[in-house]
Symmetry: C2
Subunit: 330 residues, 2 copies
């Protein structure tokens, strides 16, 4: 059998040219794009550049049989979500990836999924790297923001409301279904899995909240853990109404205990958790409406130590919490 690289495979240059190069467009951010030693990017004077990198690894963040269109969506979505959590406007990104082989059946849908989401946010691919190796996808994204207005993790203040966008827990429900921890009807699993595979980065909401919200984070590892980062960095505590947490549409069909656990600790939702002064509730609702994104008020920042949970009646609730850490979980 011929070695794989002689079986009509693409060269690196052909791969980039065929799948990841597009004609120059008016208003492009890239002063010099793909094909030189570096991309050159124009940024707007008076704004700051926000930069984030995320790496997704086969077998860790996705399965070998992952749909390449959706995989590309997710890789870019998690980076857009980081911009959203700063209130930054997406500008451009680089894509570096290693692939076992250069197959059109994989590359064509991957590039289609990537550009579909990128175009929705006006975010340009300006460079990157490709190499052979175990499947690994690293995106570095750039956004711009007014220096005075980023949504920082250390900016929560005592008395702030705590809010969350969209719904939580369906991605975790899908994981439980895949792992057969819970028996799910196929249509329930498929619907929940959409939330896991094609999360919606809350970019418009993040931008609309600049100047209104104090602190924000995107929920990648679970609400409790991610809100915990805000509390630690802001040196404040919080009380959450566990029954106010908005369950995903599929999770809402499950029992109360599961809803509590998965909304609080399920990862991979990529919703925003943010804090805002109690006297800005109307402004928050208006920002959410302008971004066509639901938001729910779930608790408040206080002077306590860490996170406390109460039920709708205000009675304390004890839940064993576990958040996600790449180097602690198997």
């Amino acid at each position: 059998m011929l070695p794989w690289y002689n079986r009509g495979m693409l060269s690196e240059f052909d791969l980039i040219k065929q799948y990841f190069t597009r004609p120059a467009r008016p208003g492009s951010r890239a002063a010099l794009g793909i094909g030189d030693d570096c991309a050159l990017m124009n940024t707007t004077p008076g704004l700051q550049l926000a930069v984030s990198s995320d790496m997704l690894v086969e077998g860790r963040h996705f399965l070998p049989q992952a749909d390449p269109f959706k995989l590309a969506h997710k890789c870019l979505a998690v980076n857009l979500s980081d911009l959203a959590a700063m209130g930054a406007k997406p500008l451009a990104f680089t894509l570096a990836f290693s692939l076992p082989e250069a197959r059109a059946e994989w590359l064509a849908p991957f590039s289609a999924g990537l550009f579909a989401l990128a175009d929705r946010h006006g975010c340009e691919l300006i460079g990157g790297d490709t190499t052979k190796g175990p499947l690994n996808i690293c995106i570095t994204i750039f956004g711009e923001i007014m220096p005075s207005r980023p949504l920082r993790r250390d900016a929560a203040r005592i008395g702030d409301d705590i809010w969350v966008s969209g719904t939580l827990g369906d991605a975790r429900l899908a994981l439980a279904g895949y792992r057969q921890e819970i028996a799910l009807a196929p249509e329930v699993l498929n619907a929940a899995a959409e939330r896991m595979h094609t999360p919606t980065p809350r970019v418009e909401l993040g931008m609309a909240l600049c100047g209104i919200a104090h602190a924000a984070i995107d929920i990648s590892d679970g609400l409790a853990g991610d809100l915990g980062h805000i509390l630690a960095r802001s040196k404040v505590g919080a009380t959450l109404d566990i029954d106010a947490l908005p369950s995903g549409f599929m999770l809402a069909r499950q029992d109360r205990a599961l809803q509590r656990a998965y909304t609080l600790t399920g990862g991979d939702d990529y919703e925003l958790c943010f804090t805002a002064p109690a006297d800005r509730r109307e402004a928050v609702m208006a920002a959410a409406a302008s971004a066509a994104t639901a938001v729910t008020r779930i608790g408040c920042i206080d002077a306590g130590d860490g996170l406390r949970l109460v039920d709708t009646a205000g009675a304390p609730v004890q839940l064993a919490l576990a958040t996600f850490d790449h180097f602690r979980t198997p």
Copy 2:
């Protein structure tokens, strides 16, 4: 046996805190550094941002037993070299990497090697990502450049001299030694291997050449192939004096045929190849002196088709050329 993640391994947060977070320093580029959703970087008004990503994969770009200090040097050096080839001044970088496990014996020298080179160029680590997986290191680097002065691949002009920095071919000689294609004395192999493992990015030279040189590229895949990119993008040809190519100090001990082959096609040297008008030779030499970097004039840009080789007497030389392509070579 306990699972690896219970054997006193570091959590992701501890890993970042212990090895990749440093105290804030005066004049930092990072308006907001490691520990939020994005880094925020200040750039200088009136300059353009140059951005480059390189991904290095175990088994492809380095061996599993690679010295982590040198490996970190090389990962950052190849990115700095891309900035050098644009004439950009290094500002900052992000580091995303997947690791099989979080071991201090590996992380401590890796972070030491990374910061040693970064500090030499005033280039700050402003963010990134860590995850578990096969060893894969992705750096995205940012530099700034005056918009009118980048060294572009498409800027070579007929009549330009062609220059190269430093010496060529020792990295390829080391590869031949490792592969036992050539028997090398241990001290020769070790000296050549230093060029392969710890290349010197020609950052100062690139910056000094802005406004003097026309086109530039860094030599990662071999002089012939990389100069070929300049020729293709600039729609020009070139004639090289094959015997003018400066051999690496270890390669210079080998026979003439090997010197010709390895200086012309050996990769991994990370020297700069650049073109400049013939009437700017003194300016080129002054720039090289200011950067304390040797440069050698090796040929000229002409209206021919592709690359022609001649010997010192001007007679044509035929060499079978092969350059490096990640998706064509095994």
